[in-house]
Amino acid sequence: MTSLVTSPTRTLTYREAIREALQLEMERDANVILMGEDIGDYGGVFKVTLGLLDAFGPERVIETPIAEAGFVGAAIGAAIRGKRPVVELMFMDFALVAADQLFNQAAKLRFISGDQLRIPLTIRTQQGVGSGTAAQHSQSLEALFMQIPGFAVALPSTPSDAKGLLATAIRSDDPSIVIEHKMLYASKGEVPEGEHLVPFGQAAIRRVGSDLTLVSYSRSMQTVLGAAEELAASGIEAEVIDLRTIMPIDWDMVLESVGKTGHLVVVHEGHRTGGVGAEIAARVAELAGADLRAPVGRVCGLDIPVPYAASLESAWLPQQPDVVRGAKRVLAR
């Protein structure tokens, strides 16, 4: 997206960009509060909230007991009464402990009430493999939040998007989840100063190409961009789309690109079966099947729990050669 006004940028890490969004939104609106485990003095396990307790005090930065259902529920109640809670779930895997509050409550109470209330709740969490955190601390569960209506789902791949998508989530009057990636916190990028909002449902073209469309998000974007360069060396020009949000999805951009290239491969860390790629493949087939010159390909995390050993973990994860192979397979059909 090109913007008319370009605010000055500087290099920040993904972690710093998220912290900046939290800080700016808390300065802007006194109803924005943070809740989560160890988020105060310690700054959270991933140090994202470091310094915010000192800056805003214990009524704005609220450390919670280890009670995911309890504090997500409390955030929902506070949101119903006008607060804008940003809840840190330390690991995406723990969303399952709070599943009732997330999926039966936050996602439904506005609907059930006949629109008598709004729930401006933001869940911040991180997921993904890469550091040997094993099966209960590595899952990519974004497809669950896409399947159950009620949440907007953002998965930033860059520091700039991390800041802009989180700010949009916090200002949204309905539930959102911003899913960070644990291997991206130290990554660096240019981030606009001051107010920076990335709207939901607007994907970004990260590379222009005409032979094939590669769709991805979150850390897999790095793998996909690497694969696109490798493909270019063998004369295949891939268009690379970063979805940024999977609910809503920028179908216009995906369909336009597929209309041009006729070939589509979706890449993500989440499991293949019932995953985001399955939805994209089905929807593209429904809406633009005639544009497809080959069936849609998927390159995903394996359909088994995430293993611990580095050798096994990297075999589990879609890697650059997997994406290159997946792309060539689709082009060869």
Partner: protein, 322 residues
């Protein structure tokens, strides 16, 4: 309770009873879909609690929550409308019997997941505390709910954060079809409050004045900033767990014994002792019956919700097209 409060409690309890008796019949006539959970016999708990609280205080009911919505002033028309799935229903036809909501009057959506309303009630109370508002959230639930993990999480949070929330356990002895003694070794559920530690009280849930007194004490504490209270109201539902329950788990004698302690009869006797004539009380009863009947008829005649109001706006991100 003074004479006037007692009289208004009498009228509220009669209204709730008449509404629920109609709801049950309407269910058997297939005019009400899904399931209907009635609290016939438990009316003194909701009405007593309401009498002890102020306008603006919130309630976060369960699926057995008609009494709370009506005690908080939700119009009968909106209640019947919701049962019939009408556009003028309290939830515009999206919720039904289990989910009555009336935010303007302080009724959060009734919750059909056992114990799920407890942490949410902590959250509304938390917002009130942060905003320095003297607002209390009352959260009623059954004794069965006290075996859920979020019950314990919520009790702990409420004490930890000094929340102005009142946990009101309606111990009606059965969770669904199972007696509480088969689910917990606590004889009095209120024993559990001590662990957090939270002050607690046991009230006779068949006595509207006793409930009001217990809740009033809890409300005073909450408004002084002293945090939550746990109240166990010992009560009984004369009806089944849900309309259609064949009730093999209890004897007719047991039900009859509790029916002798009907909370409405008790209030009627007390009012007569205070000098109200049976004619006066009968007139109130007549007025209530007429109001319930008229609301039912009007709601039945009301229009169905437009399918355009199916709720696609309920999350901005939901897809519109099929």
């Amino acid at each position: 309770m003074n004479g006037n409060s007692l009289l208004s409690a009498f009228e509220q309890m009669l209204t709730i009873r008449a509404f629920e008796e109609r709801a049950e019949q309407l269910f058997y006539q297939n005019d009400v879909r899904g399931s209907v959970h009635l609290g016939i016999g438990q009316e003194a708990v909701a009405v007593g609690a309401r009498a002890a609280l102020r306008a603006g205080d919130l309630v976060a009911p369960t699926y057995r929550g008609h009494a709370y919505a009506l005690a908080w002033g939700m119009p009968l028309f909106a209640a019947f409308g919701e049962l019939f799935g009408r556009a003028i229903g309290s939830n515009r036809g999206r919720g039904g019997s289990k989910h009555f909501a009336d935010l303007d009057r302080g009724v959060l959506p009734a919750n059909a997941i056992v114990a799920a309303s407890l942490p949410i009630a902590c959250g509304t109370a938390f917002a009130a505390r942060l905003d320095r508002r003297e607002e209390i959230t009352l959260v009623p639930f059954g004794e069965g709910a006290t075996n859920q993990a979020v019950f314990h999480e919520s009790m702990n949070l409420a004490v930890l954060w000094d929340l102005p929330v009142i946990f009101l356990c309606e111990n009606n002895l059965y969770s669904e079809m199972t007696p509480i003694a088969r689910m917990s070794r606590n004889v009095d559920i209120s024993e559990r409050a001590r662990a957090y530690p939270m002050p607690s009280a046991i009230a006779d849930g068949m006595d509207v004045t006793a409930v009001a007194e217990a809740v009033s004490g809890a409300a005073d504490r909450a408004r002084r900033g002293e945090g939550p209270t746990f109240i166990e109201a010992k009560t009984y539902r004369f009806c089944g767990h849900m309309a259609g329950d064949s009730e093999p788990y209890r004897t007719k004698e047991e039900v009859a014994e509790w029916r002798n302690r009907d909370p409405i009869d008790k209030v009627r006797r007390e009012l007569q002792e205070k000098g109200r004539t049976s004619g006066e009380l009968e007139a109130i009863s007549q007025t209530v019956s007429t109001a319930v009947m008229e609301a039912e008829v009007a709601a039945r005649e009301a229009t169905l919700p437009s399918v355009l109001d199916i709720g696609l706006g309920a999350a901005n991100w939901m897809e519109v097209e099929r």
